[in-house]
């Protein structure tokens, strides 16, 4: 009898307080959501905790890799989903058993053009990731050159030599801006640009045009990369020429797993120097 009195007092008190609190919360929430601009917010000072949290990758023995760019950077076409970025990490781990090798992130976006990449580089998160990396793997330009690739798949027209040349001229200017932008963010890191190959070398009408275009592009890229120390380009043109059957995936544009493995091996070799 006494116990039920105590129980009642406790429950009624607790639930009363809880109800009042929750109702206040409810009305506050309705007010805040329906009229957010008038709601008072606390100020967030970005500098305050980013400084304390900023990890210093160079201090540790870690190799941090970030891949950025188009579908090749992302690894499209690789059945295992690794791409050259993932495969590079694997190879580096095998070669450096003592060291921590990590893929900090893969920022490759399917279909990305040089214009898109320039926008990406302005993003806070992208900048942050690039700043942290020791090795930056870049692949870009393929979509600028072969924008018609998908149209081709669907039976569209092939790009003419004139169209291709125009695209190369415009895109290489932008590439020349991409390299310093990345270098400016992270002068320490090794920047590896993965050169283009001609995926259409087995198509009669495209072989000559494609080869010329890709060569022109790669030359322009080499020029852009050469201006900076710690930046280099690895060629893939020779890898794929004549080996399209072996190294291209079923979409006839992206490399398959073996193709990516080949690229990764070259990257690892170039890093040894």
């Amino acid at each position: 009898m006494r116990s039920t009195a105590k129980l009642w007092r406790m429950i009624s008190l607790l639930s009363g307080i809880a109800t009042v609190l929750l109702i206040c919360g409810f009305f506050y929430a309705v007010k805040d959501i329906s009229n957010p601009s008038s709601a008072a917010g606390i100020s967030v000072s970005p500098g305050a905790d980013s400084g304390s949290e900023q990890p210093a990758p160079s201090a540790s023995d870690e190799i941090g890799i970030v891949a950025i760019g188009d579908s090749l950077a992302k690894g499209t076409g690789d059945d295992e989903g690794e791409g050259f970025a993932g495969r590079t990490v694997e190879l580096l781990k095998q070669e450096n058993p003592g060291r921590e090798v990590k893929l900090y992130g893969n920022l490759g976006i399917n279909g990305l053009l040089t214009t898109g990449l320039l926008d990406e580089l302005k993003e806070n998160g992208v900048q942050h990731m690039l700043k942290e990396a020791n090795v930056i793997l870049l692949s870009i330009g393929g979509n600028d050159l072969f924008q018609g690739a998908e149209a081709l798949e669907e039976g569209g027209d092939l790009p003419t030599a004139a169209e291709l040349n125009k695209a190369i001229d415009e895109a290489s200017v932008r590439l020349a801006a991409v390299i310093p932008a990345i270098k400016k963010l992270n002068p320490e890191a090794a920047l590896i640009y993965v050169g283009l190959y001609n995926p259409f070398s087995d198509i009669e009408q495209m072989r000559a045009i494609g080869n010329t275009g890709v060569t022109r592009w790669n030359t322009a890229a080499q020029t852009a990369v050469n201006k900076y120390s710690g930046a280099l380009m690895i060629p893939t043109y020779d890898l794929f020429a004549g080996n399209l059957e072996r190294f291209l995936s079923s979409d006839h544009f992206h490399p398959n797993g073996d193709g990516y493995e080949q690229i990764a091996q070259r990257i690892v070799q170039s890093l040894k120097q």
Partner: protein, 329 residues
């Protein structure tokens, strides 16, 4: 009011002695550690992948979503979700605020967010479903209604008691979640900033009104919204309990409605008029976090109105039926 208090006291004692509330606490005590453990595993894996730097994982999430946007197989509505998500994540990055700052408070916030549309309503249903029907199954309703007390007062005291326990349940979910997850993630994070005020405009997010609130305030608002949802679910279950004689049947009816709601929420965007169902309006906390509503044209005001109409209608039905009804068994 003076003659209602003893009745409410009666109902409260019955509720406690029936051990319904203990069952709820027990369910929380079993399930929350499970969720905590799962979250701990996720955190561990993320740490392995992205290190301790949350910006990497957020940026990776953005990139992943950007990639899936390109897929032509992705339905339009999902694209909208992802575009909004990307914009919000970028906002967090721009302001250097970790949306998933590890800690008991963050875990609790996310847990409550996910629990608001199904888990907590299910708990509430467990309380409400037998509040009237059990008196009928055991026959004690005869004892109750042959006393010199008007029927509406009897029912009203049950309703008040139910609302008291709704509040206690929401609070208990919060407290237990915080206490248990804090063991693993630590008890910090109450003053961490969280952004709210994302105004959605199709697939575009209007960031002009976005402001940061400390996480404790966010939780306070979130719990208030969950309380409202719970109260409406309680009223509906209350009505079912009045209408249906068997407790089992009333639980099945409510459960079917709630689960149908969570299924509909995932696929209803094509069926516009589904937005008038109460079940698809349970995720009020989405309006706080800026997650798009399942159906075009749903706003906080709309959802509140729909829920209020359902809740009030079920109260009207409950009182009409209960005061007029012949007690035959």
């Amino acid at each position: 009011m003076t003659d209602l208090m003893p009745l409410i006291r009666n109902e409260t004692i019955k509720m406690v002695r029936k051990k319904r509330f203990y069952v709820i606490l027990l369910v929380l005590l079993v399930l929350v550690p499970m969720f905590t453990y799962a979250q701990m595993k996720v955190t561990e894996r993320n740490r392995e992948k992205f290190g301790t730097d949350w910006r990497r994982s957020v940026q990776q999430a953005i990139t992943d979503n950007q990639n899936s946007l390109g897929s032509s197989r992705l339905p339009e509505e999902w694209k909208k979700y992802r575009q909004i998500y990307i914009q919000q994540m970028k906002y967090y990055l721009d302001h250097d605020v970790n949306p998933q700052e590890p800690g008991g408070v963050t875990f609790t916030r996310e847990f409550m967010d996910n629990a608001s549309s199904l888990f907590i309503p299910l708990l509430i249903m467990g309380l409400a479903s037998d509040i009237v029907s059990s008196e009928r199954t055991t026959g004690t309703i005869k004892m109750l209604l042959t006393k010199p007390v008007r029927r509406w007062k009897v029912l009203f005291s049950k309703l008040v008691t139910l609302m008291m326990f709704v509040s206690l349940t929401v609070m208990a979910a919060f407290v237990m979640c915080y206490a248990i997850s804090g063991l693993v993630f630590g008890y910090q994070g109450f003053d961490m900033p969280v952004f709210t005020g994302f105004q959605l405009n199709g697939s575009d997010v209007d960031l002009s009104a976005v402001h940061a609130v400390p996480q404790w305030l966010y939780l306070f608002l979130q719990l208030g919204l969950i309380w409202f949802v719970s109260a409406v679910v309680a009223m509906l279950a209350f009505m079912i309990s009045v209408l249906v004689r068997s407790t089992a049947a009333s639980i099945v009816i409510m459960m079917a409605a709630l689960i149908a709601g969570s299924i509909l929420t995932n696929m209803a965007s094509a069926w516009q008029s589904a937005k008038y169902l109460f079940m698809v309006n349970l995720e009020l906390t989405d309006y706080l976090s800026g997650t798009p509503a399942p159906i075009e044209g749903m706003t906080l005001g709309f959802s509140l109105a729909v829920l209020a109409v359902w809740g009030l209608a079920s109260l009207v039905v409950s009182f009409l039926v209960f005061t007029k009804q012949d007690i035959l068994n």
